[in-house]
Symmetry: C2
Subunit: 143 residues, 2 copies
DNA sequence: GCCACTAGTCAGATAATCTGTCTATATTGG
DNA sequence: CCAATATAGACAGATTATCTGACTAGTGGC
């Protein structure tokens, strides 16, 4: 009866791209056009106390050079600031500025709005179901 | 009781990246290391009869120049061939070669293997559930 | 206090996208 | 049936986001 053909990987990719397009288009319309998907690991992994570039890089699974490039771009556009690490003279701590926090909050807001639109279509229970299933599909069970 | 915090967008991104890493690492180990995620829309949208670059570009939501770049790379590595379109003297038809079909089949095989691993963990019913939910999360209900 | 390790930068390469321009062919309206 | 317009793709060049390799400066164990 049901079409059981489309693979999970493809569905994941399509869903993620649609979600990302929606969220970042809304973010751009909110006045943060200079934040692109590539910058999101910075917003995501910088905590309240700031983080070192090398730690951001590891969490984002990229080289420190690549992370440094992203951090520099966000620093130039005023979303993060860099301060000396008091505990390590080699390191610098990346912090979100007020503008950076605002951008992160607006992005989260748009993302939550998408969740609400989905909940309006399929119901809150199904959204929670999806949340659980996605968490299980991501776990550490790969070769 | 339940942690209801992690947003769907983030979960989608994490799941997709894990899935893609797994599938393309396996593809590389199978001897197709020169096929990268960026090439996947070509494998995906070229049908049996071949497709024009401009149509591939539209389906992949990119410019024809970008798609042309991807097609050229795959042509040089022998995964696709280009023939004149009999119905349109301006156009060329992109076809998968035997090697290209093989690569696509191997990639699909690895993707299905991941689905089976997931089914072994959470059950086939839950996988079907995920499939349906992802299809609903991707539909044309965005602004 | 030396020596191995680590944080970050500098330099350069590559991949994957974009915009703009151009040519050749197709299509369509008078 | 042809002239105007539209389309397919190629060419040139720029940008973004990643990589590797080499270097500098600071850390910390012994």
């Amino acid at each position: 009866m049901h079409e059981n053909n489309i693979r999970i990987g493809r569905l994941l990719g399509d869903a993620y791209e649609a979600w990302q397009r929606g969220a970042y288009a809304a973010l751009a319309e909110s006045g943060f056009a200079d934040i692109r998907p590539a910058h999101s690991p910075v917003l995501r992994f910088v905590g309240e106390q700031g983080a070192r570039v090398v730690d951001l890089a590891e969490q984002a699974r990229m080289t420190k050079q690549s992370m440094s490039y992203l951090v520099s771009a966000l620093e130039q556009s005023g979303y993060v600031s860099l301060t000396a690490d008091p505990d390590d003279g080699r390191a610098r701590l990346v912090h979100l500025t007020a503008k950076g926090n605002q951008a992160r909050d607006v992005l989260i807001g748009h993302s939550l709005a998408l969740e609400e639109r989905l909940a309006a279509r399929i119901g809150k229970d199904r959204v929670e179901d999806l949340r659980e299933l996605l968490a299980e599909a991501t776990g550490p069970w790969l070769p």
